[in-house]
Symmetry: C2
Amino acid sequence: MAHSLRAADEVEPDLLSRLRQRGWRLSSQRRVIAEVLVGEHVHLSAEEVHARAGQHLPELSRATVYNTLNELVAMGEVIEVSVTNGAKRYDPNAHRIHHHVVCRNCQAIRDVEPPPTTVLPPPEAVAGYAVTETEVIYRGLCPDCATDRPEGSVPGS
Amino acid sequence: MAHSLRAADEVEPDLLSRLRQRGWRLSSQRRVIAEVLVGEHVHLSAEEVHARAGQHLPELSRATVYNTLNELVAMGEVIEVSVTNGAKRYDPNAHRIHHHVVCRNCQAIRDVEPPPTTVLPPPEAVAGYAVTETEVIYRGLCPDCATDRPEGSVPGS
DNA sequence: GTGGTTCTTGGAACGTGTCTAATCTTGATC
DNA sequence: GATCAAGATTAGACACGTTCCAAGAACCAC
C-alpha cells in the first residue's frame, strides 16, 4: 500500500514549530520521522518507523531513528509504551491523558479514552515513592484475534 | 551476604504440588529457581535469578532459568513486569491483585496494594478488545532516589 | 532397575538498542 | 550567496537480553 503522507507543513503544524523553538535543527531526517510517527497516529516500533521513513529517505540510518525518537520522548512529544514482548512502541498522542489496550496475540495497541468512572486519582505518593505518572494497560484479544482463529496466528492485515 | 533460603518443602507448599499436578517434573533446577523466586518475594530479573540460584546449583544454565521462568508465567504462577529499561522482572505474587510502582531512577519495583478508591472496575471490553487483565504502573522516585542525590546515581543498597 | 520421555546444557544466533569517529548539514552571520 | 562552527547523520561495531538448537543427562512410571 502507498502511504500518502501529508506534506511536512501540514503535519501537526504546532509540533515542528514547538521543536524549533526548543532549538531543534530541522533536518530532513527528523522531519520525515516526525511525519511518519505523528502523521499516522498509530503505535510503531523504532524498526517500523525506520522502514516507513526509509521509503521516503532511503539513506536513513537506524541510529538516527533511535536518536530522534529518544529526543521526542525526552521532550514529551511522544510516549514510550512497553508491551512486554519485543520492542518499545512510540505513541504520538502525548498531549491527551489516555490508557492503552494491547492484544496478547498480535501485540496491536490502541489508545483508550478513559471513561470518567475509571479515571484513577493520580496519587502523589505510593509506598513512599513520589509518583509523577500513572500508566494503565489493558490486555486481551483484539477483535480480529478474538474470532475463532487458531491461537498464535496473526490475522492478515 | 548469605541467602538463607527456606528448605524446599517449606517454600510455598502449595506451589510445588500445584506444579506437579500439572505434570511438571520436579528437577533440582526448577526447585531452586522456584525457591529463589517465591522465597524472597522480590522482583528479580532473569539474570538475578540465575545468579542467586547459581549459588546453590553452580552448573545451572541461563537457558534453564529462562525456560523455567517462562513456564511459571504461562502457568500463571508468576507475573512478568516490564519496566521500560532493561530486563523483564518476575513477580511471584501472582495470586493477589495488586499494582506496581517503579522508580524511574534506580528501577526498583514495589508491589502496591490498591486502595479501594482506586480499584478499576475490570472492563470486559475496551475498544472492541476482549480484556482479561488490567495492569497499573505508577512511575516516580523511590524514597532513596527522591532525597537530594545527583540524578542518575543509584544509592547504595 | 529399565526405558522412554522430558529436561538441561553450552553455545550460537537473534532482536533491540547504544556508541563511536568520520563526514555532512543546518542556520546564523556577513 | 558564501562562510563557518555547532550540531546531526552515517555505517558499523558493540552490548544486552532472550531464544534456539542438538547432544547428553535426569526423572519417574513401570
